[in-house]
């Protein structure tokens, strides 16, 4: 395909409106959260939450096998989300114990959730025929390894509802959340209910992780929760500008990667991750050059 033959942006929008709309929702939601994730070093917690979804998938598979819920429905998504939220709150509770470090707490919940998910999913396949249900493991792929290119109108609604809830709640409690993120120990001494704020952030993180996994897959979810914030923090030390840059990086990465995948018939997830990685490398180089210029001007003075 030559450049002259390439479709215009409008043609791309018409070609894949749902993936672009769902991608925009994910980019906005995850980019805002990513600044918090990077500043508070919550990246590993995000990993723990995403892997704990395996446990939720196992529970929903078993319930589907028993005929309690239908496979692929809203109930299944709700169960996985609920499982991840409970896991996130469990990590906080375990972290509060004197003898358990946060890393150990995350590792504990991560492996336990995966073990529960594996056993229940396997058991569900054996149990399903006894209850007249089809024995399939479709839900593993559909929930954990979603692809943004096959998103439909329902996924767009899920993405934008999650985005409005996450960004709206962060904005509503923005000052308490910022104080907690900046200086948790002192915030508590100032009367900030740090336990409640932390729980809120963890729940919102779980919502973002599960939604992003469902719509775009686990790798892109992780990338969206780290790269926009990390890139923006390389370029700015002002709060408003950092948030705007993070949203810009996330949106450009998702939409740019999606357009590249449509143009060149490539997988969308890796394209998006590579666009964002490229922006991070560019920001790191700019930051390094700025540092050198600053050091030179200081020496000259």
């Amino acid at each position: 395909m030559t450049l002259a033959e390439a479709p215009t942006l409008w043609e791309l929008v018409q070609l894949a409106p749902e993936p672009l709309l769902a991608g925009a929702a994910l980019a906005l939601m995850c980019s805002v959260l990513s600044v918090l994730v990077v500043v508070k070093r919550l990246g590993f917690i995000g990993q723990g939450i995403s892997h704990s979804a395996f446990g939720g998938v196992g529970v929903s598979a078993m319930l589907a096998a028993l005929g309690v819920i239908s496979t692929g429905g809203a109930a299944e998504f709700g169960i996985v989300l609920g499982f991840c939220v409970l896991t996130a709150l469990g990590m906080i509770a375990a972290e509060g114990q004197r003898k358990t470090s946060v890393d150990a707490a995350i590792g504990l919940f991560l492996v336990a959730s995966m073990a529960v998910g594996g056993l229940l999913s396997h058991a569900a396949q054996r149990v399903a025929p006894q209850f007249g249900q089809p024995a399939d493991s479709r839900s593993w792929e559909s929930i954990l390894f979603g692809s943004i290119i096959v998103t439909d109108r329902r996924d767009v609604v899920i993405g934008w509802v999650a985005c409005i809830v996450v960004v709206g709640m962060l904005w509503w409690w923005r000052r308490a959340v910022t104080f907690w993120a900046f200086d948790e120990h002192t915030a508590r001494a100032f009367g900030v209910p740090t336990g409640a704020v932390k729980s809120l952030v963890m729940i919102l993180l779980a919502v973002a992780v599960v939604t992003a996994m469902k719509l775009a897959g686990v790798v892109l979810a992780t990338a969206l929760l780290v790269l926009p914030g990390a890139t923006a923090l390389r370029l700015s030390d002002k709060l408003g500008r950092t948030l705007a840059l993070a949203v810009g990086v996330g949106t450009t990465g998702v939409l740019g990667g999606l357009c590249a995948s449509l143009l060149f018939d490539l997988q969308p997830g890796p394209c998006m991750v590579l666009v964002m990685t490229g922006m991070f490398v560019g920001a790191a180089v700019i930051g390094w050059l700025r540092g050198r210029r600053g050091a030179n001007s200081t020496m000259a003075a």
């Binding site: 600044v35 990077v38 500043v39 508070k40 004197r98 509503w172 409690w173 923005r174 000052r175 308490a176 910022t178 104080f179 993120a181 900046f182 200086d183 948790e184 120990h185 002192t186 915030a187 508590r188 001494a189 100032f190 009367g191 900030v192 923006a232 923090l233 700015s236 030390d237 002002k238 709060l239 500008r241 950092t242």
Partner: protein, 301 residues
Amino acid sequence: MPTTFAVEFENVTYRYPGTEASVLEGVSLRVAEGERLGVLGPNGGGKSTLLKLAMGLLEVQSGVIRVEGESPSAARRRGVVGYVPQKPDAEMSAPISVREMVVLGASWRVKGLARVSGEVRAYCDRMLELTGAGSYADRAVGKLSGGQFQRAMIARALACRPRILVLDEPTVGIDAAGQSVFAELLARVHSELGLTMLVVSHDLRAIAAGSDRVACLARRLHLHGSPSGLTPAVLAELFSHDIAGIIGTGAVHVHAHAASECAAHGHAPPGGDSGSGVSELVGLAVSAPGAGTKDKPEGGT
């Protein structure tokens, strides 16, 4: 007219859960309104625990604590106490300016559509000027020196208009020249705002320079009175564990005795092996205003 007490400890004993030995034992002290109390003691002597109890960050197990006549946690929730932490656990990579940090201290309760009033912002600017942080108010916190960040933290504590200012080890990491500037700053804050101040430190200079009264704390209260009560004998007893760890118990008695003799005769203690620490420490007590006199401590347990 009866004295009104800002902070009262009555026979307070505290032991951390899961430990055998108590950190504080039978501590009783009172801080009058507008008074500056310096709490001096060795590392592990219970100073920070005393502060945490006064701020309601730890629940008192035995005894009574009142802050402005109410429980410490109730006083904390009302914003009665302004807190300057010992070692900031702040995330210095956070994209936040000094002014934003100070305004957060005063406005973290403001949520949703509400805006921080111009009057609050003006008061924050006034506190920035009072503490000398006004000249770098728009700088990112990650670009501040230790002393600059200390001033910003004091401005943040003052911004919520507390009646009691609590400072935990405020001179850690500040050199001798910086300490005298810092002492002047605290004196200026005290005279301008008329606050009750509670300063905890293991640094004798910091305590002697800016306290109306001192409390010497090493699990128990060894002295609660005027700074003139900081005699070499009191200091040697207070820091006996620290000193014994460096030079051995026998040497402590020799040096403390030598310094006491010097104090009695009005000259400096022998400096032959002042590197040992105790002669320097006790010598400082001798040179402190009024120290070495026969003043009787006013209380203690």
